[in-house]
Subunit: 149 residues, 2 copies
């Protein structure tokens, strides 16, 4: 037995999906060529970044979800994007935002369990330039990525 599902999940996280033009056409009661034209226009304008799958993360071994509020050390205020882009490279990181307020950065992270998260904090998140972090663990997700669970 090949373990294909893991590879599929990985591909689905970033894309490898496509619009259902025929179904959209039926729903909107328009010709499929019109829908096709408008979708391609949205893609060319860059309004649509990609098409991807949304998961029940518990079922793909990523049930532990944490919001990480990050306070940067003052010498990093001038270039928060450098740290942010580094953190964004990690596949466990769902989102990276540079923010206003008491925290300069917010991560949303998905891992298997608390142990895995602890290792991520030690090995990835704790680094020079990061002054303080507050971890808010999600106990229950009611909606993600605009999809109600």
């Amino acid at each position: 037995m090949k373990n294909i599902t893991e590879k599929i999940v990985k591909l689905f996280k970033e894309g490898n999906c496509t619009p259902q033009i025929a179904k959209i056409a039926k729903k909107l009661k328009e010709p499929s060529t019109t829908i096709h034209y408008n979708i391609k226009k949205l893609e060319k304008e860059g309004a649509i970044k990609t098409y991807k799958a949304i998961f029940d993360y518990k079922k793909i071994d990523e049930g532990f979800c944490v919001f990480v509020l990050i306070s940067l050390s003052p010498d990093e205020y001038g270039n928060p994007e450098k740290i942010g882009k580094d953190l964004a490279k990690h596949p466990e990181v769902e989102s990276v935002d540079i923010c206003t307020g008491n925290w300069e950065m917010i991560l949303k992270v998905r891992v298997k369990d608390q142990d895995t998260y602890y290792n991520l904090v030690k090995n990835v998140i704790s680094r020079r330039g990061i002054n303080k972090i507050v971890s808010l663990t999600s106990l229950k997700q009611l909606k993600t990525e605009f999809v109600t669970l």
Copy 2:
């Protein structure tokens, strides 16, 4: 001219996409029927919730993104999901999480601009049961929904 794009964007937020089986098959060098079988299995197990589009939100008039940390009033501690599910109904709300720590709930919200957000806070987020909120406005998004921008 019909304004179809708005309707398409709305449909794409929750689904109306589908996997690209042929392309995945080529990437993984497996027969497309094998890929098909494995994807359908993931769907039946409920591991895949839906297939949808990811946007450059600035280009679809949702450039203002805020993380809302919510403190519930003590009489709501027993049933935070009621408020959460109500909030999840609103299309501006990308995610709703029940959390540990100083805040019992975290929202991620996307609207057009600060004015629209102000109205959302007044009309939707401020309600009985919500004790205190802290809004962390995203100044720059480096990664969203696992997609690097």
